[in-house]
Symmetry: C2
Subunit: 443 residues, 2 copies
């Protein structure tokens, strides 16, 4: 993409309403724009990040055997009356009346609807286990929306729902999602730590939250340093295999949010030098809730023995739009955003220091075409701004690599390659720069 033809409306001033780094940086870099309290437009560069996250989530869930569908944003209130949640949900649920005075709501989550879909179509245990997921916008009418996309009202969520004949099956489904989550977050280039959690309004008796550590995190977390070092299940993972040892390993070390923190156990079980006290941002949560929805909503299948029984369910959320904010929080510095490679809106920022110079522009055009041909996302700053402005702007936007092309370098046969995360700069030939960036593609 050429910056001169792109829509990347960077703000020069710090937006007054932004209290934390990710909110400020996402607005300043031109990734999002607020349309109403907690309601955002995803500008082109922000949308690229969102789509990259979606693609990783989809790929891993498909591998784990889940099937994607798409439920509507609006739901009938009657459905929630059936599960008993309509009155219970409180003012965070956006309640709507249509032109015929029928009561609708903007779905804050979808356990009720997916249970209705399941019960209408699945009658036999032979269809199980089943896991259905979607990537869909949700709405929760927060009392005080803030922190940008970290606590928005309209937000993008991946929600998956598992259906099993019995508790043993449901726990296998739970472990499958637990492992998929470990892999998804790692593939996005971040470390999310699973912690035993309260089940809250979703209900059930088993739940883990996945948290990314960041100074601005909404909750205090306490864990064994080992949680930051455990190996992530590899590409050869067999989702149909026995995943219990992996979950056991990740459950064996202490990790808790402040809600469930047990200070005595923490000090007893974790040696002082391994105690981590930090803050975390929740980016996903998994629940096993048994028959909480299938009982009242009569979602039952016939087992091998001919008897009918309510299915055992679980639900599994990832806050996709929230993740963008969490990734920025976890990785930014004073100059701006530092994207992990897998989710960066552009992998390379190519800076033309002198667009009026034909030699410099020709070198930039060559590198731009070569990178695109190699499948590398590249943003070429071909504008007429001063060098200092271009450097600051590219640092703010945060592609993992920058190539800086200027006349003096070209006279010596080199361009400058800068790694955004470390600030490390190397002078090398254009061909070597291309080779480095092609090689590092799958890092």
């Amino acid at each position: 993409m050429r910056l001169s033809r792109y829509f990347l409306p960077a703000l020069k001033e710090n937006p007054a309403e932004a209290q934390i780094a990710s909110h400020r940086l996402m607005l300043r870099a031109g990734l999002i724009r607020q349309e109403a309290a907690g309601i955002y437009t995803w500008l082109p560069a922000g949308l690229r990040v969102l789509r990259k996250i979606e693609a990783v989530v989809r790929d891993e869930l498909d591998r784990a055997g889940a099937l994607e569908l798409l439920m509507p944003t609006l739901q009938l209130a009657d459905l929630w009356r059936e599960s008993g949640r309509y009155e219970a949900y409180g003012p965070e649920m956006l309640r709507i009346r249509d032109r015929h005075e029928r009561e609708l709501l903007y779905g804050p989550t979808n356990e009720d609807m997916i249970t209705a879909i399941f019960r209408a179509h699945v009658k036999s245990y032979r269809a199980l286990p089943m896991n259905l997921y979607q990537l869909q916008w949700k709405f929760r009418d927060e009392q005080r929306p803030r922190f940008g996309v970290l606590r928005g009202r309209e937000f993008l969520m991946k929600d998956a729902y598992s259906f099993d004949l019995d508790e043993a099956g449901a726990r296998r489904s739970y472990r499958r999602m637990f492992v998929a989550y470990l892999r998804i977050f790692a593939r996005l280039g971040i470390r999310a730590i699973p912690m035993r959690a309260e089940t809250g309004p979703i209900g059930g008796d088993l739940s883990h939250e996945f948290l990314v550590l960041a100074p601005s995190g909404e909750s205090a977390v306490y864990c064994d340093r080992g949680m930051l070092e455990l190996p992530i299940p590899g590409d050869d993972i067999d989702y149909d295999g026995d995943l219990e040892p992996i979950v056991r390993q990740w459950s064996s070390l202490y990790a808790a949010t402040e809600d469930v923190h047990d200070i005595e156990r923490f000090e007893r079980d974790v040696p002082a030098e391994r105690r981590v006290q930090a803050r975390g941002i929740e980016v996903g949560q998994v629940f096993y809730f048994g028959t909480k929805y299938s009982q009242p909503m009569k979602a039952a299948v016939t087992g091998a023995d001919g008897a009918e029984r309510a299915i055992h369910g679980g639900s599994y959320g990832i806050g996709v739009s929230r993740l963008v904010g969490a990734i920025v929080e976890a990785g930014c510095d004073e100059a701006g955003i530092v994207w992990p490679e897998p989710v960066a809106p552009f992998r390379v920022g190519l800076i033309d220091l002198d667009p009026a110079d034909a030699t410099v522009s020709a070198a930039c055009e060559y590198l731009y075409a070569q990178l695109q041909a190699r499948g590398v996302d590249v943003l070429l700053d071909d504008t007429g701004e001063r060098a200092g402005v271009k450097f600051a702007h590219m640092d703010l936007l945060g592609p993992p690599w920058q190539i800086v092309v200027g006349r003096r370098g070209l006279e010596r046969g080199v361009v400058e390659l800068k790694r955004r995360a470390t600030g490390e700069r190397t002078e090398l030939t254009q061909e070597d720069a291309l080779a480095r960036l092609s090689m590092r593609r799958n890092e």
Copy 2:
């Protein structure tokens, strides 16, 4: 995908509420499920069709220089008051109050919001021309939602918006979208005919609708048969080139919906043997509306002469979810859906006539793996149903190709390849079948 592990809830009975073929077939084949009047879940196979359409739309608009962003589904009522449309829009607009009694609405279209985004960030003519688009769910509270996804309330729309300094520029942007639309519909495997149209609530003085011919179409259309035969601009199209000759060619032949039909002109200009009277389904519409939004909303840029002027705008919609219904209407037969190759949920339906027979199953597994390795979407019917049920089910779902594998054929070294559209069957070796389907991939 293996049917035994898939969620494709086919209905055995014709749903009573479905008055037209596409609605009936999409429900029966398990592509969609109604959640409320005019509000649908897209089940896995239906979602595959939607995603394939999205991918083609994106690819072609990106080529035409448009930039994708994503606006929220909910908007502030005040924005619509500013453009003067809030009161005018009528009961089709779903009006909402949040917990703080702020007035919101579920966007039925986005001219107002995109104009607000543009004016906040673009100040100079140098950023023009600009075209911003999104693929986002919209809501229109139809008085009587019906015909399934053809007239739903929550629907997926691609909406693009162009910004130019003057009318001449805006007309160039209009032509760019006109040509992109010709190519998008052709790439989806359908013929959509552009017709001069009324501008309705969007406003403006130049508009074309794109209609797909189908017996159940909502409006009568009249055109010169030549409109069905004009060549579609090829892959070598240059969107920055002069597109006026293409638009002129497509405007030179008579084509009108009943709203604007001029029977005298029709009979004068079109020889009797070339007159087509049919019914059509609108799948897209393009508008040039000048300064209708930029004037009241004060969206202006500074020109090369330093003077400020209101931008000239256009908007360009494609009903993505509606298209799925239109494609089914245009192509079904008594046995079910006949998908064009580019949008079929699966390109090949592979029927295992005898899953209990190890030889037959092994052949199916081989073909299944080979097709997947070649990037061909395949659905393997590995269920225990009778042959007749499997045939009927695959015809209903409508992949363009079927491979039928049975014991008797294998004894003679052949499988059967069936082309869904014509019913034509050929016996050939497994390798020949694979070669045929790999070859035909880009047909």
